[in-house]
Amino acid sequence: MLRKVKAKNARTKRFLDNRAPKVVENAKTSIMVRGSSSSAVVNQALADLYSIKKPNAVNFTKKNDVHPFEDTQKLEFYSQKNDASLLLVGNHNKKRPHNLTLMRMFDYQVLDMYEFGITQFVSLHDLNTPKCAVGMKPSLLFQGDWDSTPELQNIQNAWLDFFQGEKVATINLAGLEYCIAITHLNGTIHLRVYTAHLKKSGQKLPRIELVEMGPRIDLTVRRTRPPVPELWKAATKMPKELKPSKTKNIKTDVFGDKFGQLHMQKQDLAMLQTRKMKALKRTRDPAEDAEDDDAAGAGSDVDMGEA
């Protein structure tokens, strides 16, 4: 639907290269969309999740006529235009009150969708507790039974993907500011967000105390559309640059010495390069030796005679 843009200067080229497929990808951006009719609860929930996911989030404040489970064309367009692969669609109607749909995209096409109903919601503005800084990486705590059905496993994967944040290899210990606890209990999913406070414990490891930051959301699972196996396989393919390289032939023994085997070509021992000894130059039989000795002896006698 979108026309292919060609870069006309270095700045636009950099912009397009940032959005192009890469080996190590950017952090996933989310779009919070409102449906044609949505409730105050849903709107506040979207706003709160947007403030948690900032700056990797876009908040659409206007209503859009979107129905994820019927037609995904509009949502795929939004995904492509904003370069976002996570969408959170909220709407409200008599049949499905306070509805929240979490969608994931692969290559700007729908990968999977999970619809939830909000049964309880407390906004983070209603909890007068300290909030964490914007853009921190959260610790994710999954509790309860998530393995009983493949649907729950997919949902867990989707929430992990949603809250993941930036992909980091090193992290500052002071940056572990908040935790998101997602508990599956009695058929409801309880989503709680806490700020983590490190207290003295008399040892190197600190004592953790959690203070609820909000929002507080209880969800029930409604409709789901799990990923198609081929699409999932394509989406989880790892590029060969990121695959761990196997070191062959190198072993370390108990003392920490490094061992490896040297593989040589077959050597012709007869043609080995050694020090040249004239005496060993050619094969000598005893007869020849004797002749040489005599010759040597005769020569020496003659010399002595002359002298």
Binding site: F106, L140, G144, I171, H190, A234
Partner: protein
């Protein structure tokens, strides 16, 4: 014994950092995630009890996670204490497909063969003459300084009437053109490889085609030209005519294929047209125009008609705002 007692007392002042769990939790430190599979107490008396229970569960899981993170190898920096997180365990889907491998350029192939490493050079270089840092290349660099050639000494073997400044400009132009030609060559080769054609064969075929075309590009279409020595007469392509009678299925197939190609191109430019929406919009436009014509006098109505049609496409407006 006294010391252990004292230690125990000191420890007892603080809350414990250990957490006992029936089933040990799964940690995915690469994602800073902890998966607690222990069965939960499903009977909660009230909402407050539930919140407290969830809070205590979360605290315990967080404690286990933080214990693991704080036990990793730390590196202290002026910005703080950093830990190296291990590789993530859970498989999460990518957002875009894997990038396609670009074919190597001529230089890249050569560099790989000779094992030439690309060493990053810094932009600023210390200039001895001025005693400050200048860019290595480009505007403001020591090499490009316009005051450098306030005087160009003419070497003894050079033509005394030659304009040295013009010569410098020409050489620069040549270098830029050479670079541009090499870039185009690389692009052409990459495109040929992507199509699956050998780039050398493609270039040769292109040259031959150009040569054929240039031979015909005379007033007599190459008929009355003097022939050069060693010039090969180009092979003429004979036009193939299908038989007029007989089996027409092949012709039908080719015509069908041509129609499909044309329609495919059309469909690609137009996209999936929502015919219902399109007809509805057209109807609206017509009605508005008619209303404008009927309600006011001709001039005003026409003006209104023009402005309303500009605002008719509601979908486009919405899209622009996103």
């Amino acid at each position: 014994m006294d010391i252990t007692e004292q230690l125990e007392q000191a420890k007892a002042q603080f809350k414990p950092v250990t957490v006992d769990r029936l089933i040990p939790v799964d940690l995915d430190l690469g994602h800073l995630a902890v998966f607690d599979k222990n069965p939960l107490d499903t009977k909660q008396k009230s909402v407050k009890d539930l919140e407290d229970y969830l809070h205590s569960l979360a605290r315990d899981s967080a404690q286990l996670l933080y214990n693991a993170v704080f036990s990793l190898e730390t590196t202290a920096n002026e910005d703080g204490v950093f830990v190296d997180l291990p590789a993530p365990v859970t498989v999460l889907p990518r957002e875009k497909p894997l990038p396609k491998d670009k074919p190597m350029t001529k230089w890249e192939k050569f560099a790989k063969e000779k094992n030439i490493q690309n060493r990053k050079k810094s932009r600023m270089v210390f200039d001895e003459a001025t005693g400050e840092y200048r860019p290595r290349w480009g505007y403001g660099s020591a090499a490009n300084d316009p005051l450098n050639d306030w005087l160009i000494p003419v070497p003894s073997n050079a033509d005394p009437y030659e304009d040295m400044y013009a010569k410098k400009r020409e050489e620069k132009k040549e270098r830029v053109d050479k670079n541009r030609k090499q870039q185009l060559r690389n692009q052409g080769e990459a495109a040929a490889i992507e199509r699956g054609v050998d780039p050398r064969a493609a270039r040769k075929a292109e040259l031959e085609a150009k040569l054929r075309a240039s031979k015909k590009a005379t007033a007599s279409a190459g008929v009355f030209d003097r022939k050069l020595d060693g010039d090969v007469k180009p092979k003429g392509v004979k036009r193939q005519f299908a038989p007029t009678v007989g089996d027409t299925s092949a012709e039908r197939e080719s015509e069908k294929a041509m129609a499909a190609r044309v329609l495919k191109k059309q469909a690609a430019t137009m996209g999936d047209v929502n015919t219902k929406k399109a007809t509805h919009l057209m109807q609206q436009l017509e009605e508005r125009k008619n209303r404008a014509m009927n309600s006011r006098d001709g001039k005003k109505g026409a003006k209104r008609g023009a402005s309303s049609s500009g605002r008719g496409d509601k979908g486009a407006k919405k899209r622009k705002m996103k």
